[in-house]
């Protein structure tokens, strides 16, 4: 009995080790820690560098960014990013260029997800909303200016 359970145990850990070696379980999917470096960044470029190690995203028509041209209330600006036309979307990031913390949110996608995010964000003043899509290591983006008549960050 002892010998059997011992064998079982070694088999299980062996399989896990092989999975890690094969790159099936990357540390980012196992550990979902809040990326404080990216969220402490003061500029959009710094935030992108902290997330992806690069900030040179190319503008792409496949990244569909829906945001209002004029937001009456900056505290609730509806933003939708649809990247379902791109294959292999790994993550979608939404940035608000002039916010004190430009990085608004970052969504990382697994195999069962579709590259689509819709949410409501706060904007302190008129600025650009930037959607960055990471697909197979390539950074694609879409930008749109949103005019804010009432700021959404207090004061």
């Amino acid at each position: 009995m002892k010998r059997r359970s011992f064998l079982k145990g070694t088999l299980a850990t062996g399989a896990a080790a092989i999975a890690v070696n094969a790159g099936l379980l990357t540390p980012s999917t196992v550990l979902a820690d809040w990326n404080s470096k990216a969220f402490n960044a003061k500029t959009t470029d710094d935030a992108l560098n902290a997330l992806y190690g690069a900030s040179n995203a190319t503008t792409s028509g496949d990244v569909v960014l829906k945001a209002p041209a004029i937001a009456e209330n900056g505290a609730v600006t509806p933003v939708t990013v649809d990247a379902s036309g791109i294959t292999g979307v790994e993550s979608i990031t939404i940035l608000a260029s002039k916010n004190p913390i430009p990085l608004v949110c970052e969504y990382t996608f697994g195999a069962a997800a579709v590259g689509y995010v819709s949410t409501r964000i706060k904007m302190g003043q008129t600025m650009d909303v930037i959607a960055v899509v990471n697909a197979g290591g390539k950074l694609l983006k879409a930008e749109q200016e949103v005019k804010v008549t009432i700021g959404g960050c207090g004061g």
């Binding site: 913390i101 990085l103 969504y107 996608f109 697994g110 195999a111 949410t119 706060k122 960050c153």
Partner: protein, 103 residues
């Protein structure tokens, strides 16, 4: 006290759109209290995950720039009968979770 989440969703052609409304102040820690001249202490949801039948499909990180009482819509590949679970936690350690079986 756990965070209150209301969610809805329906599967259509293998893709399910999940919509969720979360009850949370989303205080960024930047907003100033006019009376004291000090910022309101930060309290915002920073991690949100969406799982399909127990397997994580979406892993999101938020800053305090998501609007108060957040609305989220996402899409996952799932069919009727699949269970969708949203799990989240805020920067003070408060947690919330809600599940839904697709029809």
């Amino acid at each position: 006290m756990s965070i209150n989440i209301r969610m809805r969703g329906a599967s259509k052609g293998g893709v399910a759109e999940i919509k969720a409304l979360i009850k949370h102040p989303m205080e960024s820690g930047v907003r100033m209290d006019q009376k004291t001249g000090k910022p309101f202490p930060a309290k915002y949801i920073d991690i949100l995950t969406v799982a399909v039948n127990g397997t994580t499909a979406i892993d999101a990180q938020w800053s305090g720039a998501i609007s108060a009482n957040p609305y989220v819509a996402i899409q996952v590949k799932a069919n009727a009968g699949d269970e969708i679970t949203i799990t989240l936690s805020d920067n003070t350690g408060e947690k919330g979770t809600e599940s839904l079986k697709l029809k």
